[in-house]
Amino acid sequence: MTSVNFKFVTFFQRIAQIRRLLLLSFTAFSMSLFAASAMAELTIEISEGYDNAIPIAIVPFGYEVQSSMAPASSQSPVDLAQIIAADLRRSGRFSPLSKSQLPALPTEVDTLDYSQWRALDLDNLLMGKIIDEGNGFYQIEMRFMDVLRKNQVIGKRWNHIPRSNLRQIAHQMSDLIYKELTGVRGAFNTQISYVTLRKSEGKRHYTLEVADSDGFNPQPILKSNQPIMSPSWSPDGKKLAYVSFENGRSQIFVQSLDGKYRENIAKFKGINGAPAWSPDGTKLAMTLSKGGSADIYIMELKTGKLQQLTRKYSIETEAAWAANGQSLFFNSDRRGKPQVFQVFLDTGEINRVTYDGNYNANPEISPDGRYLSVVHGKDGFHIGLLDLYTNEFRVLTDTFLDESPTFSPNGEMILYAMNRNGKGQLAVVAIDGKTSQTLKVKDGEVREPAWGPYLNH
């Protein structure tokens, strides 16, 4: 371990660092993304997978109706096991058995014959029940079993869950399993935000959308005939800041996902761009050029008060907060071409961070502070990853026009925008650069992704 910058290695980051070194042999990553289903508007392609996916049995959940109620339907409204199997399969780390491979469909510990499952050479099995309480509410029971040790590893029950939350419960179960087997918190129960662009009759239609991390339930947040850029999630996952050109120029808006609040918070002369929410949710970093050229500012959201962090004739933009909120990484071309710099809020000190190649832009920092993801311009534009502890730099992608990297909240995956055959799509790559999945909308392009925070934390 060399050249560690002690300024930002906190105690927790040390722990995370040690844990990560121990887990290097797993190269685990938690991304479950985009379900390929007729229901979602988005389609997914998995281009590569891991060789060593762990077999696992995800048994279809039993469905029961509480005896006092007349059954509204004869089957579960949502196939929880299918969602969980899809999550785990798409992480590339697990290989769930298909239904036809399951020797039995147990739903309770009493009826579980361990030897049947041990014979299939797998260690773990998930079973459970969904119980219709009536009136659109459900009880869900989950039992995650170790078939070698013949015991229950995870047992959970959810009561009085409305039908609309059932998918979310399934993702929570995926997260629990993932954490149990890899030691890393799962990021299945998360959301993503992105901009779609469709062209019809010479007009451009932009939509800012939020979807589940598996691509289901895309919800439009804003529709416009003018560009939308740079969505940024509030740390509580309830609001988005973004750039909209609806008034003819770049301006920053903050909007709550429940639709109750929307405010144009930055409409200064010149550019209002690159909003980035502080980790404590009270401030927004942004790019403003009202002072003569693009510089980094911080706005305190409650008061609207501005603090200017850079004062250069060069371009300073694309600020990203360090996890401890005490510094920001940003893109500056003060040395001629874009490179990443770091500014410390207490001293105002500015240090250069990237030295590999002559174009590094759009910095994003992993939640544990260890990795810096950039757009690296060499033989095209690729996603690059700088390990801030070891100073190792790697190029993660080999497609030609990649941009807008965003980390999953557990820091194991990067979602980014790529250009394939001239059309924009989203893609996912693991930190170790191995697995690739893509997400696209029909009749249009997807761009500017932002991965939301953990929900219900």
Binding site: N247, R262, G422
Partner: protein, 189 residues
């Protein structure tokens, strides 16, 4: 007089071959669709804005002129020789001799009509990151603004806006499209 006339004709011919615009070129690439913002119910949308490309005596982008001339030497169709678009090299925001001439031409047009205003819309090609390109597009618009001011147009008549890589004139991921997208459009009103 004849000598001057033939020199002038030569100059026009030279400009015609140098200029890449074709007569009757469609303005479809440059016109912006009407803006609407359709937000979730209960949220006030902001005012619509529509970009006006040509109006009441201003120069239209298809090059048709309104017949005004600055002096006896200028002919009616000379506006066709200069699209009101300045193109830039990759990652560059400087004017060269040719583009300076175009700026000068429009600056002189504006000096002749005192109430005219201009919006300078800066753009980039798709390469590089969107926010960096937003700033780069602004740098391009600013360099055109500075040149116009040097040619006498007062700052209050100039408005600058950058769209970065968000409004390409030509779709495509190739040199031809990229070159056409690295531009500042002069919208004279």
């Amino acid at each position: 007089m004849n000598h001057l006339k033939s020199l002038f004709t030569l100059a026009i011919l030279a400009s015609l071959t140098a200029c890449s615009s074709a007569p009757g070129r469609s303005t479809g690439d440059l016109s912006d669709p009407e803006v609407g913002s359709d937000t979730a119910p209960g949220i006030k949308g902001d005012a619509m804005s529509v970009e006006v490309l040509s109006a009441n005596g201003g120069l239209s982008t298809d090059g048709s002129s309104m017949g005004q001339s600055l002096d006896g030497m200028k002919m009616v169709d000379i506006a066709e020789l200069h699209e009101p678009i300045i193109y830039f090299g990759y990652n560059q925001y400087e004017l060269d001799d040719k583009t300076t001439e175009i700026v000068k031409f429009y600056a002189q047009e504006m000096m002749a009509i005192p109430n005219q205003k201009v919006v300078l819309k800066g753009h980039t090609d798709e390469r590089g990151t969107p926010e960096y390109n937003l700033a780069l597009g602004e740098k391009r618009a600013k360099v055109v603004a500075q040149a116009m001011m040097l040619f006498g147009v007062s700052e209050s008549r100039i408005d600058i806006v950058s769209f970065g890589e968000e409004q390409p004139a030509v779709a495509g991921s190739n040199e031809n499209a990229w070159q056409k997208n690295r531009r500042v459009e002069l919208i004279i009103n």
